[in-house]
Subunit: 135 residues, 2 copies
Amino acid sequence: MDTDGTDDTDDTDDMDTDGELTVDAPHRELLDQVLDKWSLSVLNELCGRPCRFNELRRSIPAVTQKSLTATLRRLERNGVIERDVISTRPTAIQYRITPLGKTLRHPVDVLLAWASDNLPAIERARAAFDAQENP
Amino acid sequence: MDTDGTDDTDDTDDMDTDGELTVDAPHRELLDQVLDKWSLSVLNELCGRPCRFNELRRSIPAVTQKSLTATLRRLERNGVIERDVISTRPTAIQYRITPLGKTLRHPVDVLLAWASDNLPAIERARAAFDAQENP
DNA sequence: CAGGATCCCAAACGATACTG
DNA sequence: CAGTATCGTTTGGGATCCTG
């Protein structure tokens, strides 16, 4: 976690001239916690149905146990998923999305829609950039 | 605001019809490029007006020159901002947002709105988690 | 099954120092 | 002014071993 304690007392003009794109430290930190590398995949799975740990691992083959654990802890800490301890013999554990977590779907959906929509344009831009800057 | 009752649509591409390829679409990679640590702040500034390099540095005091350069290059490569070389004596350079970049505003805005909306709930969740797990 | 504990590497980031 | 280059440090992630 980065806590840039060095707040500027010098220049804090966050004046939006033509809109309200308020980007604050808490906002960015929050999005970092919730939109990190594996969160989207996990959220995506848990939106469908509750899953157990190894179920998630199987659903997201590229994730390691360590990263998955870290992701689940982080999401749990932020209140978007919950952890159920089921007292069976080798203690099963189930993760499920919370109501708060469900509200995340729409913003993420909008973002993914944008990505889908503009992926071609962006790949074109990348190709053009790479061609001229790095021949 | 969240009308996700029946929208179970996955915008992540389902390419698991004949195998499990899975996890990552170019979507997540794209979002990583565009929603990284400093991009939102830079975009926010450039949405208002074109800025020069040191102007941006001053607006975003916590960013280092290196990170700012990297961020600008990345955003430029992805076609959301553009670089103007103004041939004055000590070569001024101006960054400005592109039409494509402007389309990013809405998704980001939705996301930031969600963050603003749920920040209190999330901070409560964090406090609760930290209290019980880490006394 | 669900993870904690380690080691280790690679990428990210910050802090100078230097240049056209 | 607008960067590039380099170094040292921090962080995240993967791999592996181990436990309740």
